[in-house]
């Protein structure tokens, strides 16, 4: 007992005598690590992990930065629980988020508690309207549809579209946008089919696509489901041009032989740029993960780096790192040097990029054209 008391007293003296270390800083990371969209967990978080490594190596902040990752399964309900934990228990001022449904579910919690939420993966157009604490570092789906569909109609001559869309906020917004764009450019939406987010059997759907006479089919889904749709469409005799959006930019979709020739969109990021931020990111990403970075990796690297830039500026002024202060600092600074160059936010908290229309060829994406969206 005496030994324990002496040890405790000695430990207390040592603790009091040691100079106070800078306080470590934690931000949140809401990604799917299980369920049908689990493949995105690793893809989305890898850019953020590299950013944390760079931020800590450069000692940008007074303490060590870390990300508290929470598994959302890409579903709103687990995401709300995870967000409550980040806000109430870990008291983070800033969190990375992904997926449209998840982001819409957590936005009121973040806004109420003045926590900045930054999205680099969800593309539902509604994400531009979730309040000033919600930021996007990815172009939203309405912009992607405006880039790919005119290209397919005008350059490839495909005018009869079938749409397969997941029954959630993302799918609904793509349907609305597609209807509008096709009307503008003289194409026809000959068939539209909504699917449950959990559906896995699509051979019947393929029969409906075939009978509609569509020469192009837009797939507005994500995760394992979008790849299953593509495979089953091809297996069941659908030879129409397949089109999708940035969720297609994952290895699962690229590596599927049935996806050869499929077209998808992604924000244009000049990874060949000579600025030091981009060069360092590209070189270190290749060294760390053994492959070229994809747009999602860039987005979450940028999102995490943006936090560090803002927090560093706040610390330099002796201000506390809170969501409200981060928001005020972003508005004050205006533009940022991130991967891809110097970027500025729109008033609604969204970064605007040109959009690449890409085609899958031999398991890789080749850019067909780059479209400036206004």
């Amino acid at each position: 007992m005496n030994y324990f008391r002496n040890f405790s007293a000695a430990a207390a003296v040592v603790a009091l005598a040691t100079p106070a270390a800078a306080e470590d800083i934690t931000i949140g990371g809401l990604f799917p690590f299980s369920g049908t969209n689990a493949v995105y967990g690793d893809v989305l978080s890898s850019g953020a992990k590299l950013a944390v490594k760079h931020i800590n190596a450069d000692k940008m902040l007074s303490g060590t930065l870390s990300i508290a990752y929470e598994d959302t399964q890409a579903l709103p309900q687990p995401a709300v629980v995870a967000m409550q934990k980040l806000v109430s228990v870990l008291e983070v001022p800033f969190t990375l988020t992904s997926f449209t449904g998840v982001s819409k579910a957590i936005a009121p919690i973040g806004a109420r508690n003045e926590v900045v939420m930054i999205n680099g993966g969800g593309v539902g157009p509604d994400l531009a309207e979730l309040g000033e604490y919600f930021w996007n570092v990815i172009p939203l789906a309405n912009l992607e549809v405006r880039a790919s569909v005119p290209y397919v109609v005008e350059a490839l001559g495909k005018t009869k579209f079938a749409l397969i869309y997941v029954d959630d906020p993302l799918g609904g917004s793509i349907r609305n946008e597609l209807e509008g764009v096709l009307e503008e450019i003289g194409g026809d939406l000959v068939s539209e089919m909504s699917i449950a987010p959990t559906a896995q059997q699509f051979s019947g759907l393929a029969a409906k696509v075939r009978s509609s006479g569509a020469d192009a089919v837009y797939i507005a889904s994500y995760g394992a489901q979008q790849v299953q749709i593509a495979k089953q469409l091809r297996d069941n005799g659908v030879d129409a041009q397949m089109i999708s959006y940035s969720a297609y930019g994952v290895p699962d979709a690229m590596n599927l032989p049935e996806n050869e020739g499929a077209i998808f969109t992604a924000q244009a990021v000049t990874l060949e740029a000579s600025d030091p931020v981009t060069k360092r990111f590209v070189e270190d990403y290749k060294a760390e993960f053994g492959k070229d970075p994809a747009p999602y990796n860039v987005n979450y690297y940028n999102a995490t780096m943006l936090f560090a830039i803002l927090a560093q500026a706040l610390e330099a002024e002796g201000k506390e790192i809170t969501g409200a202060n981060l928001l005020a600092k972003r508005k004050e600074m205006g533009s940022f040097d991130l991967v891809g160059g110097n970027v500025s936010f729109l008033d609604n908290g969204t970064l605007l990029f040109p959009i690449d229309v890409k085609q899958i060829e031999g398991g890789a994406a080749r850019t067909l054209t780059t479209v400036d969206i206004k």
Partner: protein, 289 residues
């Protein structure tokens, strides 16, 4: 033509559902264990086949590994999870929660071992050919249908003609009586897990080739199996088989009138209607046995 096409795809889906659902029904009917981890057996069998096939060993070694893995997994759960729980308190719900938990653990372990990505086995058998104008059928669909009928027919003969089969049918009614006739309820329970787990293997293999795999794939098929077991009549093998085919057809033919997002809802609408109209199931248990 669309109706004919959807009927054919419905029969294929029904055949795959029937194999999994009948395995679940056999285990539940014989042992009264709500084996929700049957979905995990399905996923495990599919991934084992994929692993062997992707490693270049070919179809037959993949098939054998898949059968061995599914059977060992089913037996291991019975021996090391269900029996100790039943020995201590025997609560139906404790066993159910344990089974549910196993499903989640297996799903995550598969994700860790095989990755969380979508995987598939490319085969010319999955490519449809146009039989009639506008009607496409893949060779795999026909194979799946025939294999399902053969497996289910063989199971029916086994249950009606063999001593063990008759024991399995009697087990849920009166384990004591089974003992009097010189059969061990434990051995029969093990036999139920062996046969039930083995039945998912053809379905798992066909699914890995036709729709592809991800670690969560067992969940949907388990829900359908559960619904088919209830609609068919709990413990009724013929009833479960008929219900599974009805679900496969309903899922696909519903596309003639409804959006695809309602296809799963149609299955559960049938479930509710069946429960209200015929609570004992399509095939009464006495007839089933």
């Amino acid at each position: 033509m669309l109706a004919l096409q959807l009927t054919l795809t419905g029969l294929q889906a029904g055949a795959l559902y029937a194999l999994t659902a009948v395995g679940f029904s056999l285990i539940f009917g014989s042992t009264r264990v709500f084996h929700f981890a049957h979905g995990a057996t399905f996923t495990l069998a599919a991934y084992l086949f994929y692993a062997v096939e992707a490693a270049g060993y070919g179809f037959v070694p993949g098939l054998i590994t898949s059968f061995a893995g599914a059977i060992i997994f089913g037996l291991a759960i019975d021996w090391f999870i269900y029996r100790p729980i039943q020995r201590d308190e025997g609560s139906f719900f404790t066993v159910f929660v344990a089974s549910f938990g196993i499903g989640i653990v297996v799903q995550n372990l598969i994700g860790i071992i095989f990755g969380r990505s979508f995987v598939t086995i490319t085969s010319p058998l999955t490519r449809s050919r146009e039989l009639l104008e506008g009607v496409y059928v893949a060779p795999l669909a026909g194979i799946a249908f025939v294999v399902a009928l053969v497996c289910l027919g063989a199971l029916g003969i086994f249950l009606r003609s063999t001593f063990t089969g008759k024991g399995l049918r009697a087990l849920s009614d009166d384990p004591e009586l089974v003992r009097v006739f010189g059969l061990s309820p434990r051995r029969l329970s093990a036999a139920a897990f062996v046969i039930g787990s083995a039945l998912v293997v053809p379905s798992a293999i066909f699914t890995s080739m036709s729709t592809g795999l991800n670690p969560a794939i067992g969940h949907h098929i388990m829900l359908i199996s559960l619904a088919a077991t209830i609609v068919g009549g709990i413990g009724s093998i013929p009833g479960t088989m008929i219900a599974a085919f009805i679900f496969g057809l309903a899922e696909n033919l519903s596309l003639l009138w409804f959006e695809p997002q309602w296809s799963e809802a149609v299955v559960f609408a049938i479930l509710f209607a069946a429960i209200i109209a015929r609570p004992s199931g399509l095939v009464a248990k006495s007839a089933a046995h």
